[in-house]
Symmetry: C2
Subunit: 346 residues, 2 copies
């Protein structure tokens, strides 16, 4: 299998290196041949080429079996009036790969529940799979800017909603058969299109219980009743906000992986944390989110379930017994955590 | 002073009646003359007149000194394909009154910290004032709908951003002099306009410390570091989501008030909870959010600071010693809580 890596900015290179090390350990242990090709994206690409997603990077990703990304962005490239921004590269990549379904699983590791801002009793049985639409909405709509005004258009077609919602229903079938669709149908036209599409598709999945929530209520319910939710599907911007909110429940953003997939070949895997410029280059970033993203890559793009489980079990062991990185109350650096995970891969 | 009441739907009439009773008690105790005029809005207005904001209601509000609203909406009027919806009436009212700044104070009452999903140590010193832009953005932009697609336009002018941001800076000056502006400037053009406007205006308030956060990060930071924030200003939709999330911290939505104001005459006051159709008509809704909204009305529209404090102190006493309504772990009904508050107004 051929894997393109896009380390990107900030802590991206550090955590991506750890994830690649995990994939290499899996390859050796299970006798697979994985080839790796490192490419530029984000601020690092802007500095080197002037573009946030150089054509060579995109071409490499399009012919890969899977893409493993670190993080993009940072204060160096954050002028709101800049004409080239790191995030554009990531958005262009998501669009070009057609990875319309962004899966963000949330579980709270029992050994880390004390790190969560939420009371422990709220965290029991929390096991949510967010399915965020990733290639539509206000992220990709027409934008205008003049001296005295700006606009962003949020657009969804029925086809765009339908494909991600069907994916969410299928995923719910493999879990607890409960799907929560989140929108703002009392205000937005795109949300009313979203809701009526979910209602229509629900007829094809009579075995899945469907619930609709408004995004403002959902922001509250994620805190008051997090264990009530199984699969949660929503549009791009609401998914961005709600998944970061939910991530806080896990105790650290550094722990959480994501997988983005479409109907095409290459899936895109990235930890949900950002480039964390404040700790970049210090060797202290938590590599767990990136390593678990590599596990999702094994599962979803390479079909290697046993290998994915081996990585997840290794992470589980390290979260239980340490070493722990700073964000989860320990003192271990990125490499110490990485080495402990590698040693635990069976 | 002349006050228009818009009880609306669900529990709206019950809690509005309690808030009016509090205002009448204040009038008697402090020798003011308040006149009240009840008008239709929302689903109740649709049922009676076919319109969610009848012209008579709007005219009454426009000539009032202040407007006290209950809640609008409910399953009866929630078909995503309906042509008239209760929420339209509320949005039309906000626009017509020009109440562009929606103030949502968040404090966690010490007697109720145990009800919060957040750990108690996180709740210490939480005292946030959200300033949500209320008459712009995707709520009021152009919308389209066809059989196979829908769009919502989010639009902001510099003038719209400037007036609400200046209001937020002024409010920060009267508090801890810390302003957090929330946007999604790494993706949205309207957010970049927002951010550069905040940056420009900040020069006029050198005594206020300004911080910018992306909305996804902020959704997380509100949980991990809620006591760090003083005044938080953001656009309409982000404010809708973040204030409901923050409200969960207080233990019950039923406790929280809001005040909406512009440059014109009448301010609009409403509890932040919705119509709660599941408990409507049972006499069990918590009237505290509505009563505290009446206190904000006294302060901001009538300039009666001592009277506002008297109402807030009365609520404080009832939250400390009971009776408590069901949402905060008690058994008292709406009227019992109301009567306890009235008796405590000094
Ligand atoms: C970096 C940014 C463009 C991105 C997004 O908003 O999608 C990030 O927040 C994420 O959630 O992956
Ligand atoms: C009822 C609804 C239109 C409203 C909004 O979204 O503004 C409500 O959620 C609020 O926050 O006041």
């Amino acid at each position: 299998a051929h894997i393109v890596t896009l380390p990107g900015d900030g802590v991206g290179p550090e955590v991506t290196a750890a994830a690649v090390a995990a994939l290499k350990t899996v390859a050796a242990r299970y006798e697979h041949v994985f080839t790796f090709d490192e490419q530029l994206i984000g601020g690092a690409a802007i500095d080197a080429t002037g573009e946030s997603l150089p054509a060579a990077s995109l071409a490499a990703c399009q012919s890969a079996d899977a893409v493993l990304l670190g993080a993009v962005g940072g204060p160096k490239w954050s002028d709101p009036n800049a004409s080239v921004r790191p995030e554009q590269g990531l958005l262009a990549l998501r669009a070009a790969l057609g990875v319309y379904a962004n899966l963000r699983p949330l579980q709270v590791h029992p050994a880390l529940a004390n790190l969560s801002p939420l009371k422990n009793e709220k965290l029991k049985n929390v096991d949510v799979l967010f399915v965020r639409e990733l290639t539509g909405g206000a992220y990709f709509g027409a934008k205008t800017r003049s001296a005295d005004a700006a606009t962003d258009e949020c657009k969804y077609t029925v086809a765009e909603v339908e494909r991600v919602v069907r994916r969410a229903f299928e995923l719910a079938r493999g879990r607890r058969r409960h799907l929560t669709s989140v929108d703002k149908a009392n205000v937005l036209e795109t949300s009313r299109l979203w809701r009526s599409t979910v209602q229509r598709i629900a007829a094809d999945y009579p075995d899945v219980k469907v619930e609709h929530q408004l995004v403002d209520s959902m922001a509250m319910l994620l805190l008051t009743q997090p264990s009530r939710y199984d699969v949660v599907v929503t549009e791009n911007l609401f998914g961005d906000i709600l998944t970061d909110e939910a991530a806080a429940l896990a105790g650290s953003l550094g722990l959480l992986p994501s997988a983005s997939m479409g109907d095409g070949k290459a899936g895109l895997y990235e930890p949900i944390h950002g480039s964390a410029p404040d700790i970049a280059g210090q060797g202290v970033a938590n590599p767990v989110g990136a390593i678990l993203s590599a596990a999702l890559l094994l599962r979803h793009s390479l079909g290697l379930e046993a290998e994915a489980i081996a990585v997840e079990a290794a992470v589980d062991r390290v979260l239980r017994h340490g070493p722990h990185s700073r964000d989860i109350g320990g003192t271990a650096g990125t490499e110490a955590v990485r080495d402990a995970v590698l040693a635990a891969i069976e």
